[in-house]
Symmetry: D2
Subunit: 342 residues, 4 copies
């Protein structure tokens, strides 16, 4: 950690600050320039509160040199994490370390016929997991909010029919009890910094699919994964799903660079959700292919049998027939990249 001191600070005050750091167990190197004096603080500074140091009277600015995240850091865990997702105890889909996963299904679970039919279709096309929302975060209180427990029950029916593991979003800590028999618990973008929820999920033994918040940096994203992992749960799947920028032709801006950056600094699997990133069905194919080529470990795609009648987010879904065509191209590219879908 580098501490930059204000101009014209006297030696006694500098010495007091040095002593303060030394008492905390750090060693301190002082460099005095013409206009600026800096201190290099050496030791494990990840637990130092950078804001408190910045508030010290003689301090101009503070810069971190090492990453504030540990358990998710590839430096301390060089091999790829591979997560095995059982389907209610039977079989398993894998993700990470050469295993590519495709999670497909409707934005919302609407009824048994719908979710079972879509599950069958996406499985036939090659999806390895089924998604479907039961608890839906909606901007407007007047929009459909999901079927709740009933929706989870229908997902399990679809799993039973197809053998696909199920992925569904938790919106609030108080619903955690309902997710006992869910295979992957999804944390939505709006909840990426719902720290109480993250802490609780750190104590479950379940794979967690963590979506990046619309305005969160890659570092904050990793710190949220750190909340889960530091609680003891090492099964975290990172999901890039678009960030908020000034561009309005797409709903969000897919940060494709986040894929190779996350793969480099962390050992966790990284997937992309092109449906939410773009908000336009005809962008799903090119963005899916770009994600595979950039090194992603999987995709999450919205598929609905009748997008114009969907109770939520219909406009970004594709039909099962469209999904089948897109999957043809995705499977070829995954294989070209030397990964396997299983």
């Amino acid at each position: 950690m580098i501490v930059i001191l204000k101009q014209g600070v006297n030696d006694q005050k500098i010495q007091e600050l040095v002593s303060r750091f030394e008492q905390m167990g750090f060693s301190c190197h002082k460099s005095r320039g013409e206009h600026t004096t800096i201190l290099g603080i050496i030791g494990d500074t990840s637990r130092v509160d950078i804001e408190a140091v910045r508030a010290i009277e003689i301090v101009e600015d503070v810069k971190r040199v090492s990453e504030p995240y540990k358990t998710v850091n590839r430096k301390f865990h060089p091999e790829d994490t591979v997560i095995s997702v059982p389907a209610g105890g039977r079989g398993a889909a894998k993700i990470g370390g050469g295993h590519f996963a495709v999670i497909a299904g409707p934005c919302s679970v609407e009824n048994e016929e719908q979710i079972v039919a879509i599950a069958r279709e996406v499985k036939k096309s090659g999806a390895t997991m089924l998604r479907g929302g039961a608890f839906k975060p909606r901007t407007s209180p007047y929009s459909f909010q999901g079927l709740h427990e009933e929706g989870l029950k229908l997902l399990k029916t679809a799993r039973k029919e197809t053998g696909l593991p199920i992925v569904t979003e938790i919106m609030d800590l108080s619903h955690l009890e309902y997710f006992d028999d869910i295979d992957v618990i999804q944390v939505g973008a709006r909840n990426m910094q719902n720290f109480e929820l993250l802490k609780a999920l750190g104590h479950t033994g379940k794979p967690i699919l963590l979506k990046r918040g619309l305005a969160n940096t890659i570092e904050e994203f990793l710190m949220s994964a750190e909340y889960i992992m530091s609680g003891g749960n090492a099964q975290v799947i990172l999901c890039e799903r678009g960030i908020r920028t000034f561009e309005t032709m797409t709903r969000n801006t897919l940060d494709i660079s986040a894929v190779p950056v996350l793969k480099r600094v962390s050992h966790l699997p990284v997937i992309v959700d092109p449906s939410h990133a773009a908000g336009l069905p005809w962008l799903i194919e090119p963005l899916s292919k770009a994600s595979v080529a950039a090194g992603a470990d999987g995709l999450m795609i919205e598929v609905h049998n009748d997008p114009s009648c969907a109770l939520s987010d219909g406009s970004q879904s594709i039909t099962p027939a469209q999904f089948d065509a897109v999957m043809g191209r995705i499977k070829a590219l995954v294989s070209f990249e030397g990964k396997k879908m299983s």
Copy 2:
């Protein structure tokens, strides 16, 4: 609502869509241009799911003409809402409609001596409410997370000593029971779209201080207030606290325009938090003054007796002596603007 149809759509499909809207109780006006045909949908379209319409095969795009928010809309409630905040049953601070509130105090409650001393100091300088965090949302799992219930207890002690109403943040729905005797419940920026929490707060009888999310539009901010108001709780205070942009010299970018925009489209009181917006103590004075001049109904300012020893966010706090100096300028300007602090 305007529905723009794709090029070359045949008349029969258009007629089917028109019938569909008419069956939903809307009337439809069709305008056919050289390249484009549009439909004007007339009626209360705030409950129509714009995404589902966009997903209809023959639809190119959809644009809303009227606002999706109702209870918070000034069109249906032209007078300013004035919120009275009792201090644990005694006295009251007011906000809105010419009443200007200053909410001051530390980022985190640390111990009784600290919070009581700061409460006394800020009251002497003219603050009308006391803030202090007991549950702290922190980016890192390794940072201080607050004193929790003990912190709430200490805030009540400070209220008893000073008569100042207390404002403190709720982080999770499961903690709601602890907030029974809190005067104003704050919803932090990261929870602005924690819809389960908003719904629950809509059923309390308490003033809610709702902070704008870092990447949320003004419209989404109002929709979150709509969640609370549509549940029956009309006491919502809107707080602008900076949005995330590319600029790095300040922690966030204070969206000062949001103040007059919110005052124009909504009847709710609007305050500004310059401490979180800027992240730099020397910006608190100019940003506070700008907020008053732009028409804000109040301010929320972090004050700490020893910023460099603060357990969280010390670097953006000012000392009680600095706060006293800033308050001198704020009070003069509030009075110049014809508002009263009470």
Copy 3:
């Protein structure tokens, strides 16, 4: 064009506005809702000044229904534009319509030995054009600003040695005379809305490589291309090179979605510059592959024989050996996508 009127406007004023549009040759459809009246303006509205309409007293808002760009619009030119770039009169590289181009070379031309050596190396690895800066836009007046005319001369030497067409940036209209014998003139991101320059380039017969500005929307990008094309020059290559967002781990955020969006709405070829988008050499390979997979028609990559001694932007360059390795992967993927490099 949809004109939304303010609430409570009287019929006479509406009729005056309708007459005004009719006198301009448009037809007008009026839809009166409960709270809002809208006018649909029908005809070629691309020449209407939307701001002037918005300023009319009874107007609340105006929304465009058709695109403001024409010559670059795929609607009026469905086939892909293919641009042939001769190398100083000899041979030609092609771009667009199935032809994939790779433009490689150093950020700045430094001396003859450097540029000729790099040109030979990148040609051997499969690059189809040579880039190199002679006029360099630099944030600081104290940084190296390029070799100017001497740099252009050295580029021509390298072209003579290798037969590669040369691409180089123009910084100011007053330098246009020096670009007579340059094969492709590049307009940098900072000049994307230098309209005097765009107009002048519209009257040259040369291919123009137009880079998207850091904060420019896709629509503004196309309007700048429209400046060039409406002047009579149809040879415009669009280049996505990253936009400015809050993320700091990468220098800019590559907007990968811009590639398929631009390809869909325009007939012009689209390339990607991963070097400037990311600012990090290890991101060039994954971002290049993502661009190919997303449908780009080419790439522009910085290659320098000694990045640490580069006089500008060294940190984002790769060495010829690294470029050769990356090109192996790019060529395989281009071929997999059914395009050819020539």
Copy 4:
């Protein structure tokens, strides 16, 4: 400057790098931590190319400790710069150091009657300078582009009639000869990094009003001012006019914090353009007042006699009568803040 080295670098390579810096005249301090070694480079590093250092093989990252700007830096010029603007040789308006300027007038000069009438009106209301565009940067090639030389002539007529100094925008270096008798030359947001233009303006003896680019950081803004000042022209007025963010209710987001930040780090006068920042006439008053309260040295406001007939940007203009009412409030607040308009 702090150079952070990669993990596991051997001592010999570090020593070579140290020698390299020492040969350039710097001294070097080395701090070796458990995981990281850093070098503190001491001396005038503003001329070091940070990118070239970052490209060195053993370097992980580089951070600047001192600002890259010099002549604009308040550290080396503690007193406020006051700029005197003569009106074609007669009289003078002042800006900076307690002098507050209001620059008002139409977006575009349209004809003599219009510009003279507006000039008279804004002078009567208290404006200290007249603005008006003759060369207009327009997003669309089909929009009105200004009257060019004829527009400049009309501005001089208006100056003669009113004695107000005139401020007008230059779009291209090739037009510089026409600006000989213009009092303040404006550089628009899109030209903030048109470095050839900035260099040329650094050799004129005229006050330059430099607008911040839509996506430019405060540091880049100051570096552009540095281009002008390092050429010998110390009369630079900085103008904040809104930055581009995700918010769509306002055209841009006024970065009000930029005012106190610029005033703190630079000695140059700082003004605000609320018309372009917001794009909505009813926001001009609150944003103007916010700017005064935040410490601005002036304002630039668009005034048009008939906004709905304006040939450009009508929707953001206010009428002379509205301007007169706004000026009443601005003058009172300027006086309250202890500044004078002259």
